[in-house]
Symmetry: C2
């Protein structure tokens, strides 16, 4: 089974302070304004699956944007509870949005009776999964022909190092991201917000093999690259100058 770090008290408290995605995404959110460009302009009437929905910020955005139904799946009771609480204040979610606890590494996952879907979305979840390939296989089967899979994962250059960090060159003093072990796919245990966060590094090749190898076609490819304005604003950490943090892709069945 997957590590359920969002239900570990030390991590969940640190995470809740680090970022608050309990509301719907706002237009100037740096991640969302990029992810939005991979999604269909109009999702009116769509049946949607949100894989690793966290506290459901995307699921609720989808309902607001006219989706017919949304199923949000996540392993964390803490996160699902946050989602359900947020939806209590939104009467329009009732009957349209369902949150369900699910370990995405234990297959097959149970889908809603709305499958096959018009859109499957997954942000910041797939790099936690050991059994990604069979999950993607199941997801592709649960997509209508022509449906989109929109994925956001931690970028392979970010997940590659075994002790990821900015390093200072012993000789020149120049700073860089310590890219290493890129070719070695597999588990990485890192300290982020709390010690012992477990994730899985995959190369870009590894991701493409999984998606293209299961009958999907690449539609859009977008790395999280900071603009000069964003860097100058100070809203972005210096480390973003060295390597991309996220990799976003959309695929059509």
């Amino acid at each position: 089974m997957s590590q359920n770090i969002y239900d570990r008290q030390d991590f969940f408290e640190a995470y809740s302070k680090f970022i608050d995605r309990s509301n719907e995404p706002v237009d100037d959110d740096l991640l969302w304004k990029r992810l939005r460009t991979l999604l269909p302009e109009d999702i009116n009437g769509f049946d949607i699956l949100d894989v690793g929905c966290g506290s459901g910020w995307f699921s609720r955005w989808a309902v607001t944007s006219g989706a017919n139904s949304v199923l949000g799946l996540d392993i964390s009771q803490n996160m699902i509870a946050k989602g359900r609480k947020a939806s209590e204040a939104r009467p329009g979610d009732a009957g349209k949005l369902e949150y369900r606890i699910a370990d995405l590494d234990i297959l097959p996952i149970t889908l809603s009776d709305k499958a096959p879907y018009d859109l499957i979305f997954s942000s910041v979840a797939f790099h936690y999964l050991k059994n990604l390939e069979p999950l993607v296989k199941q997801l592709v089967e649960a997509m209508k022909p022509g449906a989109l899979l929109v994925v956001n994962v931690e970028h392979p250059t970010y997940t590659a190092p075994k002790t990821p960090r900015v390093v200072e060159d012993k000789e020149t003093g120049q700073k860089s991201w310590n890219l290493s072990a890129y070719h070695e796919e597999g588990e990485r245990v890192v300290d982020w917000l709390a010690p012992g966060l477990r994730k899985y590094h995959r190369t870009m090749t590894g991701y493409m093999d999984i998606f293209l190898g299961n009958g999907l076609s690449l539609v859009k490819f977008l790395e999280w690259l900071p603009t000069e304005e964003e860097l100058a604003s100070g809203d972005i950490d210096d480390v973003e100058q060295y390597r991309p943090l996220f990799l976003m892709m959309s695929f059509r069945k």
Copy 2:
């Protein structure tokens, strides 16, 4: 125009000692055995364009493999002369294989009367070009519907740093590739075999925008990743443990 470093005596002499691709590729060549998997199994009767053909090793392989015609283009007089010399010893090349000097940054390039092509191939050339996008546009127009474009470029993690090298962490002593300035596309001037080699860094996103944005579909995606056997053999430099050297992709029109 492009830098023509292969016609600079210091670089050409160093390069000729570094690698000898004047013969046809052999099955255990580490780059070729990967590139081969992106090419069609059978190229019998194909009309082929080899963009940045160097001394023509791929062009001659294509003729040997049954191609109907091959046009090899390269900026370097030195390399084209090597190719022509190699073909003198191969009577079968006459009438099938033409080498032509061309600066790929000055558009449009002049194609053969065999265009549109069944296959366009380009290895280790596109990352030297400033005007890649309009070149790709012209190439796509010169492909038959269903034809393949097979591309090999230096990997974006390799081209990103402004002073690319393996660094030793000041604190831990651990070695890594100094990934930095990834998001900054543009010229890089590096020392490799000789001082002042000029190339252009593009992000993976930048490459995909150019290829997908000109109507191509991604078929295969393969980073140059060393196997454990290759690393153990000692044939591969230690630095290959840190980051991928090449990015190979095939696209269908």
